[in-house]
Symmetry: C2
Subunit: 249 residues, 2 copies
DNA sequence: CTTATTTATTGATATTTATCAAAAAATATT
DNA sequence: AATATTTTTTGATAAATATCAATAAATAAG
């Protein structure tokens, strides 16, 4: 039987699940793809982008965007998984993991600070298109529907971060790890069995915990038969319980 | 002599400041005002807004925006201080405190989820203008410069949240409290002596700590002659040291 | 002005989580 | 295949922080 430890529950040291109708705040809101935006462009606008486009392939581990450098490009990832993270003075925190058909660098479109706010590195081979920011802005000026679609993507990211901020403040370490596993399953891989392109250290940076703590909780989940682990391959065996740990932890 | 306690510093239990050139990540990046956006509009566009505008006054404590309700308005705060916060299932976290001449609700402009992501309440009397979202979007569609200015505001908020996320993950409790005090001083009140419209509980929600812990650290800062406290009135006596605590804590 | 109620403060304590250290396992290198 | 190196895991421990409880102070209500 699995319980969730709660702070200072006097009557019983462990908290047993009860059915309540709380708002369930998870990092795991579904991500949206960004490819529809291009369909809003006219031939001439597409041509502007085409003439200011560079197609590049990145290998695993290579840096697509480096925090602090001048943001001269808007990047569209056609294929591949990448991690977006902020580098602090002591720690790193992975904001999100992005799949195919996503823009990178939109949050640096119009800002006083002309540098990228985060670093992006490829977690596997990535095929990307670099658009010159000036040209991209030109198209943005010409086409209001396109511009609004871009606002939509930016706002979608923002609402993800609101949730993430709350999760980091509110959830305990088990909740964070459960949430991360569900996030990987639901939104990155879309299935219950997957192999992560992340080290344990990176998992910790994603969960916002120390590596040792993250590992310990993963092992705990394994002992409780919630997941099955083998190196980087994960198998979710009791999704309902993971959801409850994420919700109540 | 003031030291900053560091985790497990073996050689010496307390960490003494050393001059390094680290990136200093603070929540306290300067906020921008949003009134310039209106200057980009034509007469006819201003008229559309004017015809879809309601002017309202809110008293202290009243709710301007409620998380989860349908986002039918874009709000422009002409005058007054308000707090923006996310309500979790167990905790609240104050995202930011906004002054005069700021838009609220921009992050709900274009989203699948048509509800507000956060709650906003007045910390003092507020004079606001409610714009019908449909009309606001109509103007956005007509005027690209306006649209881009709005993107700028949204992105500015985003970069604030990136920093905030990092601060919450990286800083210890003293660093968080020091950072909060500096934020209030630099960007909300613009001076070293100010009276906060926040309770201790709200300060804790702003710092992301428990109320008791927040109070204890405030008292500690007072004992160390960094600040002077009297109820809700604050006086900063050693800004340099606060900055270092925020930086290294 | 007195009493009730809320808010702020302090102290003691428990829990969570990070850190350190060392071993085991996995991967890379020769 | 043997060795070196890195990553992962485990155990022990310390520090940070939250919680509980009780008191003090401030504010509101009668």
């Amino acid at each position: 039987m699995i319980f969730i430890k709660k702070y200072y529950d006097k009557s019983q040291q462990y908290f047993i699940f009860t059915e309540t109708t709380r708002d369930y705040m998870s990092n795991c809101i579904k991500d949206i793809t960004h490819n529809e935006a291009f369909e809003l462009l006219t031939e001439s606008e597409l041509l502007i982008l085409k003439n200011n486009k560079t197609s590049i392939k990145y290998d695993k581990g290579e840096v697509l965007i480096k925090q602090g450098t001048l943001s001269n490009s808007i990047i569209f990832v056609k294929k591949g998984i990448s991690k977006i993270y902020i580098e602090g003075s002591q720690k790193k925190i992975i904001l999100t993991i992005k799949r195919d058909n996503n823009f990178l660098g939109l949050s640096s479109l119009y800002t006083e600070d002309k540098t990228y706010q985060y670093t992006v590195t490829a977690l596997e081979k990535c095929k990307v298109e670099l658009y010159d920011k000036t040209a991209f802005k030109e198209v943005l000026k010409k086409n209001v529907a396109f511009s609004n679609e871009i606002i939509k993507y930016i706002n979608h990211n923002t609402s993800r971060f609101y949730k993430r901020l709350l999760c980091i403040t509110e959830k305990n370490s088990r909740g964070k790890v459960a949430d991360m596993i569900l996030c990987l399953s639901n939104h990155i891989f879309g299935c219950l069995e997957f192999t992560i392109p992340l080290s344990r250290q990176e998992l910790a940076e994603f969960a916002g915990l120390s590596m040792e703590n993250t590992i310990r909780i993963l092992k705990e989940f394994e002992a409780d038969k919630l997941i099955k682990l083998k190196g980087k391959s994960f198998k979710i065996k009791n999704k309902t319980m993971l959801e409850r740990i994420s919700e109540f932890g």
